[in-house]
């Protein structure tokens, strides 16, 4: 197949035309469409007038919306950080201490990853809900509190639900990266007298960076666009950009502003990822 010729071109065209057609028509064109809409003007009863109205983007900088965007990024970053904090030691444990149970242990991480995100959020609705709920009874049993606390419908509940939902997305790439780790490097470092801690920071962690990057991206992106968890666990009191976009499309009938928000979110996320990957090393990502 390597030689370029007529067959080569036909082969390539044959293989690529379905994807070009499908992603072109149903991914790129829709994105371009909301880009166009984001400069349009919404009619009062839906509908949109195309043109060049930067007003939608100016509106994004209204303190009200700016605050929501900033809050979204803070929550998403916090979630990513917490997932890393919890996920890294576990991935490390599975890789290096898992022994013959390694496969079972990683499978146990994968099972929640394959089950419905909605149902996992629902589990927390059940557990955190109510004064006489499971979480409240547990806290009182452990004498951590003497009166029922409001656990659900708080920003903390939202973050908790997100960490629970996205933790497997962090652990799996971390595990994949650590798996490739060459034991001899670690042993060599320790032979040279480096402390365990020192070995970790100087040898193990840098080598696992591709996993850290991939995991962080996999967690950060969906959490920045999240709108289900704030609804179910936040009691609609914690508004994120996802909720705002949904609201513009399905409630306020302002598709132009909704499109501007969506474009903004996409651009900010891509920007954040590029910045992050650049900072930590671009080529490392390819290895995962």
């Amino acid at each position: 197949m390597g030689k370029q010729g007529r067959g080569w071109t036909v082969g390539l065209a044959g293989l690529l035309s379905p994807v070009t057609l499908w992603l072109g028509l149903f991914f790129l064109v829709p994105l371009l469409l909301i880009l166009a809409y984001s400069f349009g003007k919404s009619g009062i009863y839906g509908g949109i007038t195309l043109g060049f109205y930067p007003g939608n983007y100016l509106k994004v900088f209204d303190p009200l919306y700016l605050e929501i965007i900033v809050r979204t990024f803070v929550i998403a970053l916090l979630n990513t950080f917490l997932c890393l904090l919890v996920g890294y030691p576990l991935a490390y444990f599975i890789t290096f201490k898992g022994g013959r149970h390694k496969h079972t242990l990683i499978l146990l991480v994968m099972i929640p990853f394959w089950t419905s995100l909605l149902l996992r959020a629902y589990a927390w609705v059940v557990i955190l809900g109510g004064d006489n709920g499971i979480a409240n009874r547990l806290l009182q049993f452990l004498h951590l509190t003497d009166h029922p606390l409001t656990l659900i419908f708080t920003p903390q509940a939202v973050i908790m639900g997100m960490v629970y939902s996205y933790l497997p997305f962090m652990i799996l790439p971390l595990y994949a990266a650590l798996e490739k780790f060459d034991w001899r490097l670690k042993e060599a470092a320790q032979d040279l007298g480096a402390s365990r801690w020192h070995t970790f920071w100087r040898v193990t962690f840098p080598l696992s960076l591709p996993g850290v990057i991939a995991g962080s991206i996999l967690v950060f992106i969906p959490s920045a666009g999240e709108f289900v968890i704030p609804n179910l666990l936040g009691g609609a009191r914690t508004v994120m950009v996802g909720n705002l976009i949904q609201q513009q499309f399905l409630q306020a009938r302002d598709w132009a502003f909704g499109s501007a928000l969506a474009v903004m979110l996409a651009v900010l996320l891509v920007g954040a990822i590029m910045f992050y990957v650049r900072r930590v090393g671009a080529d490392k990502l390819e290895e995962v």
Partner: protein, 369 residues
């Protein structure tokens, strides 16, 4: 992935793959009648298929309503659900979505009329329209019932725990009472909740003056720390029943459902004003089965069907012929049959045109404060 283990030959998997392709093709074919891609005839000549696509609120028909209709007419009804008027509108604006009957609330009917997405009704095919009571027809959103006929109506008020709070005066103040902190649930609705604040201030639910809206916003921001959250009416109901909430902002049907199973609860319609709403049946433009749709609408307005419907949903019926057949247990609930003095203080939410977005911004700003 765990599956990326090496196997030299994949006979088993190949069979499985072929099975998947074949199976899915078959199942898609089997599902064809459900999709709407076929004939775009739309009310042309010739008899319609015996089908009807209904787009409704969740849990809003009695268990027997659709099967009985099918028994009578042979028409099979497929039902989908929406959870807000705005969602309904957004989906309909996709143009000819294949629904034959939709159930928008009052103000949404007028939005839809203005957006030109409703079909005019042929009243000669809806003789049962005569059953509709005078209070429920010719309302502002569709003065001549050219496009819509009422389905159910109800009020929006407060479901509360009488045992814990005692009998409350009809007022919005308990929803702003710091003593009830953390035990109040408002509706996640950008007209009803700002509406509650407007009522409390003595303004109209359809206010558009900037100052009034700003005052309402301030009221809601003041209220927010006292709230457990903003929910659907169907979510507030179980929360009040199980004690997570002492007071829930709910639609009357949810309140009556709760009252009938729990004697500790009560429902009040606050002074000086509260919302009265009407959900209506309408036919969207481009409906493929308009004849069936008229048959269905006429069927719902029948005396017996209307009574069965309301006895199940616990909402009020606009159908006066059905009234005698409404369960007594339901009629005896507080706030089900309204005194004229109460009925007169109810307001109807109207489309406020350009101010719709003011309401939207107002509510976002409250929720994110």
């Amino acid at each position: 992935m765990a599956f990326r283990r090496r196997i030299s030959r994949g006979d088993f998997l190949r069979t499985m793959g072929a099975g998947v392709v074949a199976g899915s093709t078959l199942s898609v074919l089997a599902c064809q009648p459900n999709t709407t891609a076929q004939n775009s005839g739309g009310g042309g000549s010739g008899p319609e298929e015996k089908e009807l696509n209904l787009y409704n609120w969740s849990d809003y028909v009695a268990k027997s309503t659709l099967p009985d209709f099918q028994k009578q007419t042979g028409i099979k009804v497929t039902q989908d659900f929406f959870s807000s008027n705005e969602e309904l509108l957004a989906k309909l604006q996709a143009g000819g979505t294949g629904y034959d009957v939709i159930v928008p609330s009052d103000y949404m009917v007028s939005v839809m009329i203005k957006s030109d997405i409703l079909e005019q009704l042929d009243m000669s095919k809806i003789p049962n329209f005569k059953n509709v009571g005078a209070n429920y027809k010719g309302l502002g959103y569709d003065p001549d019932n050219q496009y819509s006929v009422p389905y159910q109506w109800g009020t929006t008020g407060i479901l509360y725990n009488k045992k814990r709070l005692g009998t409350l005066e009809p007022s919005w103040d308990p929803m702003w009472d710091p003593d009830n902190k953390g035990k109040i649930g408002m509706l996640n609705d950008e007209r009803e909740t700002p509406g509650a604040a407007l009522y409390k201030l003595g303004y109209s639910v359809n206010a558009t003056e900037k100052e009034q809206l700003e005052e309402a916003e301030a009221e809601l921001i003041k209220q927010k720390p006292l709230l457990r959250g903003y929910f659907d009416s169907t979510q507030n109901r179980p929360s009040v029943i199980n004690g997570d909430l002492l007071l829930g902002h709910v639609f009357s049907g949810d309140a009556f459902l709760a009252l009938s199973s729990n004697e500790d609860l009560d429902y009040l319609i606050p002074e000086p004003a509260a919302t009265r709403w009407t959900d209506n049946m309408a036919i969207p433009k481009g409906a493929e089965h308009p004849d069936n749709a008229h048959k269905f609408i006429n069927y719902i307005l029948g005396a017996k069907t209307g009574a069965t419907l309301s006895n199940y949903t616990y909402y009020n019926t606009p159908n006066e012929a059905a009234l005698p057949m409404i369960d007594d247990a339901l009629k005896n609930l507080p706030g089900y049959e309204l005194e004229p003095s109460v009925f007169d203080r109810l307001q109807i939410i109207e489309d406020v045109g350009a101010a719709t977005r003011e309401y939207s911004t107002l509510f976002t700003s409250v929720k994110s404060s």
